[in-house]
Amino acid sequence: MNLRETIKEIVKDHLENQNGLVMGQCLTAVGWVGGTLPEIYEDGGMVELSMADVANGGFAVGAALSGRKPMYVIRYQGFNWFNAPIIINYACKSNEIWGRPCPLFVRSIAMEGAIGPVAGSSHHSMYFRMPGMKIYSPMSPNEYKLTYSDFMKGQDVFYVSEHRGSYDNCDDLIDINFDNPHYVLFPISITRFDAVKASHELIKEGIKVSVCHIFIIKPFLPSDESLDNLKNSTYGGCVIDDDYVDGIAKSIANDLANITGNKVEALGLEDKSAGFAKDVDNLPPDFNKIIAKIRSVIT
């Protein structure tokens, strides 16, 4: 079962067996959000909201206060600029200030390529800087199951940073560890796939590139093994993200550098607006860019 089908199954169970809700815009339109939603309508808990993004975030927060653990679907992560305010300022603070949990599962979906200055890529950094939530970016079926399980076990607000490019994936993404690597990659979201490819490519030349996947972004708790990789790395490492580079990527890079004393850089979306046409788009670091980065460091 691939990730798309896994999400669909989880959502179906959430509605049919957990008294849950799924809320969002254009859920029941053609495609059912990339095939990740079962064909269930409002009487079954699939709630079509109005086109008022800011208010919709508030509706989802209110539903979360009721204890029904709603899933709130944001079809393009960039739409969080409208959807996030009440989630971040109410849901994420409610338990700390008032002792009222407000467990909300934000399904925020990234994609990119020819979709302009707002809609494209991941925008998890805008949540990352604020308190009171967990941020997971599952790219495999098992990671998604763990994400949902963690959500249902607790009372936290979850920002689930999805990427449409991962929906066909069936496989786990396993860390690649070397005892004394030349370099270490810490990729997030869709960049994880090309980071693995880059490592496989460079080992053909004898360049050892470890890959320590970042699936749980917040709280960021690097494994001992990943830290050992970095400590023993000849040229340090790099955090790679599908969001703008001046966000999570640099923040985590700074943390890793402070912990290990080794140099850690950051790659992400460039500090520029994205246009629709190919030559003015702003895409996440891909295989070629990652390879180029590594070569520039180790040569």
């Binding site: 109005s50 008022a52 509706f59 206060l65 709603p70 300022n89 603070k93």
Partner: protein, 282 residues
Amino acid sequence: MILNHALASKIYEAAALNRAFEVSTFEQMKLGSIKFPAYLSAGQEYISATLSVAFQEAGIEQRQIFIQHRGHSTYLSFGGDINKLVLELLGDKRGCANGMGGSASIHSLEANIFGHDGLMGSQGPISTGMCYANKIPTLCFTGDAAVEEDYFLAAIGWASTKKLPIIFVVEDNNLSILTEKKVRRNWDIHDVAKAFKMKAYDINDDPEEILNCLDTEKGIFSEPMLLNINTNRMFWHAGAGIDDPDIFDRHKSFGENFDSEYRLTVKNKYNNLVSKVWKQYL
């Protein structure tokens, strides 16, 4: 709902508690006991006092209430613990919002009153979403300024679309800090609500007018409703000061329905109660 003498007395007493509390808070602010901005609801007490008494009369026990700043009277009218409110205003961890809410973000788990985060009007969509999810009668208090937030308007629209058991109560004191409504907009919120196909009224904070809007035969929450209730803020937006010493005072006016001896008895009763609570924690 008909305003008889017994009901009027209950409303008067509820308002008297609120007034005593706000006057005493005003004094504590002047004395420097309160270290952050406090938003006093004196002058506006009859809105929450009347609605809370009406709910009691109608036997509405299960309800959820959303408030924002200037909510002390709402908190007290709907059963919030006065001790916890005083502690909150003193920044004490035993306060109703764990000492984090100050005056603006008070709440009560016991009374099912939901606090406010500070984004003006966010309680509009939040209350609507909660009401949608559990269908429990919901009261959403707001002010004439917060209701201008675009997301609040969207909440009215969605509540109407989904025919939710919710009442939006706009405490319209005509002021955003000191900027009058006419400077900010050329429309009225009750007209907007009607345009959203919601039952809506523009009334004064006279208990009789408020009660007349509540349809006890069909059920107070039989359909979504917006009440724009014109009222007066007696004190500054925040802090211990008076903008207009001659402003109309509903408490004084409504008190004229009762004899002076009763008024004095009620006043002393609640002044003593409030003063005792403050003394306990100062």
